[in-house]
């Protein structure tokens, strides 16, 4: 692994002190991507000129108050960025350029962040290894023969391999949490309704949430604070503003009560994973948290509910990919019905 590069907080603060420019921070991220991405395949598209132009505007503008000022960020390719490709990891969206920004992008840019590129993922976020991408698998930077996890594998790799300090992914059934764990970084799945899904290419509308990746908890909390909150474009986004994540960090673990469903930590868990889990609980306890054992008696229904809701919603959400308005269209159809079916045959 390479020497650690600065955190998002460090990049922002260095720019504020005049020791770094946004243009330089972005340039260094682009250099890191050029050096490491060919072997890791974290990014499916990189918008170098656009990012540098934005960074120069930020430097000229002089206002460094944004919480993420000058910080390069990587965006999962299921999240729409205006005039950058969005493939959702699929051939069926070849050539699609969203005409709008997802709400999370608008908010990141309002906080001063610079979108560097779009990251690799399992097709339409359906998968847990990034092996089901139409653009080849992403590789774990700790051991490129291993998977980084998924579906937001590319975003996890971008952060774990020090290409960008922050990345956005999406989590429907674990797709931020699991790649964060497999790549050894921080990832959070916000409670449903905390973050707008407007501009997230939908997999399961009742389950999807955009979530942040960072190398530190402080960086991740900063990104979460920037993206969350009410949005008139998403009726499932809670109308009341959430409390700030960053503001709670100084309190540490004192007074935190953590419920551990031990009945879920027995079957099918490798011994070294269980040891690492227990060590983490021990560390939380020594930092002042109270650890209680809890029961989650309905957990046995979570897989059945997931496989009913997620598959049904995915079928509805992917019905729009038919070659009519955007993306791939088969050249081998002379009727509308054949066009739909063959476009999907070729594209999915």
């Amino acid at each position: 692994m390479n020497a650690r590069t600065p955190s998002a907080v460090a990049v922002r603060d260095a720019i504020r002190r005049g020791e770094l420019t946004a243009e330089r921070a972005v340039g260094e991220a682009l250099d890191a991507i050029a050096a490491r991405n060919p072997a890791l395949n974290a990014f499916v598209s990189v918008a170098g000129e656009r990012a540098l132009a934005r960074a120069r505007r930020l430097d000229r503008n002089g206002d460094t108050s944004g919480a993420l000022h000058g910080v390069p960020v990587a965006i999962k390719d299921t999240i729409c960025v205006r005039d950058m490709p969005a493939t959702a990891g699929s051939r069926i969206l070849a050539g699609y350029m969203p005409p709008y920004d997802a709400t999370v992008i608008t908010r990141l840019e309002a906080a001063g962040a610079v979108v560097i590129g779009k990251t690799n993922c399992d097709e339409f976020a359906m998968g847990s290894s990034t092996e089901h991408s139409a653009f080849g698998p992403a590789r774990n930077p700790h051991d490129p023969s291993r998977t980084p996890g998924g579906s937001s594998g590319g975003s996890a790799v971008a952060v774990a391999a020090d290409m960008t300090p922050l990345a956005l992914g999406s989590d429907t059934g674990g797709s931020v949490r699991q790649p964060a764990a497999l790549c050894g970084i921080v990832g959070a799945r916000p409670t449903y309704g905390r973050v707008s899904r407007y501009g997230l290419i939908a997999f399961a509308s009742s389950l999807d949430q955009v979530g942040p990746f960072g190398r530190t908890v402080a960086d991740t909390a900063l990104m979460q604070d920037a993206i969350e909150g009410p949005d008139e474009h998403d009726a499932t986004c809670r109308a009341t503003p959430p409390s700030s994540c960053s503001s709670t960090l100084d309190a540490g673990c004192k007074g935190l009560r953590i419920g551990v469903p031990r009945h879920l930590t027995t079957d099918g868990v490798d011994a070294d994973v269980r040891d690492a889990f227990e060590a983490a609980l021990d560390r939380l306890a020594r930092s002042g948290a109270t650890i209680d054992t809890v029961e989650l008696p309905h957990s046995q229904y979570s897989i059945p509910v997931y496989y009913l809701v997620a598959t049904a919603e995915a079928s509805s959400n992917l019905a729009r990919f038919d070659g009519v308005r955007y993306g791939h269209r088969t050249s081998d159809a002379d009727t509308l019905e054949a066009m739909y079916a063959r476009t999907r045959r070729e594209g999915f």
Partner: protein, 111 residues
């Protein structure tokens, strides 16, 4: 226990969904769909006599806060006033094929 889904069922559903499936795919999906419907039987065992419908809630049950939020219980609404959407040019910008005057998506004929 419901009858298993057959390859013929899958072929019918595929036609409705405008999907082209190979024969071996129809067999595989028949098995997978049968397994998924078995999950429905499991979920149907759960007794939920008095729970309010999920769609009437705003997800305001939050572990940390105690928002009772009857106001949150309504689906989010806004005034019934026209607001600008994306322009026609933007909507058609990624069109695989469009009419000569650029105003319409063009597709093969229906029959």
């Amino acid at each position: 226990m419901a009858d298993p889904i057959t390859a013929r069922d899958v072929a019918h559903i595929a036609r409705l969904a405008r999907l082209d499936l190979a024969a071996d795919e129809a067999e595989a999906f028949a098995r997978q769909l049968t397994d998924i419907l078995a999950y429905a039987a499991i979920v149907q065992q759960v007794n939920t006599p008095d729970l309010p419908s999920a769609s009437s809630q705003d997800g305001s049950a939050d572990g940390r806060s105690s928002e009772a939020g009857s106001a949150e219980g309504r689906a989010s609404q806004r005034a019934d006033a026209a607001t600008p959407g994306i322009s026609r040019d933007a909507a058609l910008a990624s069109a695989p094929d469009r009419s000569a005057d650029g105003t319409l998506f063009r597709v093969p004929k229906v029959l």
